[in-house]
Amino acid sequence: MKLDKVLPPVWANIVDNDHVNELRLRVGQPIRALCGNQWCYLSTSGLSSSMTSAIVVDEHQLHDILYLACQKSVYAYNEQIVNGYLTIEQGVRIGVCGMLVHCKGVVTAIKDVCSLVVRIPYEVKHACDKIMRLIAPPYNTLIISPPLAGKTTLVRDIARWLGEHSYNCLIVDERCEIASVTNGVSQYLLPNCDVLSGFDKSYAFDIGIRSLAPDCIVCDELQAHELPRVKQCIGCGVTLYATMHAGCVETALSRVANYYCFDRLVLLDRTHHLGEIVAVFDGQGKLLSTYNDH
């Protein structure tokens, strides 16, 4: 079970049995769970659409969950916590909400934690197979979607595909979500992949290209300020696969247009199911292919 060391056994059991994708724990409020595309409530007997039977989290329980998620060693995870997130074993991501504590202008901690958003990943093998003919190297590809549409799952599968096809793949796993390396071992089978965990992307591109000689680089959650480094990275002859939050292709293009970095844009959606690939576009926004498997 993924969360058996963090959540009470009954909750962990339900999360595992019902393949919950996301849990929202808020102090004094019933626990909400996302299963597939459906929101419901967590009760002691399982998932329920009724709020009345739902488990209500108290402050003490929330703090305990956070403490256990840190493996009883908050200092080892404080750097992540002050950035509002925490990645634990098996790639489970926990968003942390609370009050920031500043000391001499530096953020040192989050206190009065009021909510935790637990996102549970599930590997989806062969998710990228149908689009690889369009985005295989040397096409630099940007995967775009709103939150929780499956970008990280897809980019992980792309890394797997690249490794299986003998490309030396460097995974820049800034938030430890793509490969989820624990004690030096990735939670996913990613052949021919080197993983830089917790590295800032700009720094990782630099040292990765110089030291690890990758054919391809895979990274997650590109920000606008990182695009100049992306352009440098691509200029070194490496094929880049990245993800970005955007609601539509036009929004993404407006951010990357000046850099001429990407040859392909892959649009995901979650209207019908998580990880739904909608279409593939070229670098100018011209539609190359659509997918309709719902």
Partner: protein, 156 residues
């Protein structure tokens, strides 16, 4: 028959003497582990920041120390089990519970400050235990041998 009785008596007395002395040896090992843990934890805070479980599994700490750590850090296990460790006095138990209640609960800088106090305490208790082991421990072993010999003489 007399010889067998002497051997049994001698063996029992020596064993009792060593068993009594083991209390001081265990205490010395415990506070040595405590002191080493504080040092390794402090070094770890400024370097790799491994979790407490990782530090405990990597170090060569005494079994009593690891048990104390796991009991004190776990909310599921009753701290009554700590009271069965005979070589720890009430003050020691209080400090150890406070120590493991505080480590792992804050950032590296705060941990380093908190650690200084407990590290000093652990070092002082280690010196005391080493003295006790040297004096009382050895005395217990010798007493066991002497009492055994005396009883053997009486039997003979």
């Amino acid at each position: 028959m007399t010889s067998i009785a002497c051997i049994i008596v001698m063996g029992s007395c020596v064993l009792l003497g060593f068993m009594y002395a083991s209390k001081y040896v265990d205490a010395e090992k415990f506070f040595y582990s405590f002191s080493m843990f504080c040092q390794q934890f402090s070094a770890n805070l400024g370097y790799q920041q491994h979790t407490i479980d990782q530090i405990l599994s990597q170090g060569n700490y005494s079994k009593h120390f690891v048990d104390c750590a796991l009991i004190s850090m776990s909310s599921n296990q009753s701290t009554e089990r700590l009271h069965t460790i005979r070589f720890l006095n009430d003050t020691d138990k209080g400090y150890i519970q406070d120590f493991f209640a505080s480590i792992g609960r804050s950032d590296a800088q705060t941990q380093a400050v908190q650690l200084q106090f407990f590290s000093t305490y652990a070092s002082q208790r280690l010196i005391e235990c080493q003295q006790e082991s040297k004096n009382k421990g050895k005395m217990s072993q010798k007493l066991g041998i002497i009492v055994g010999l005396l009883l053997c003489i009486l039997i003979i």
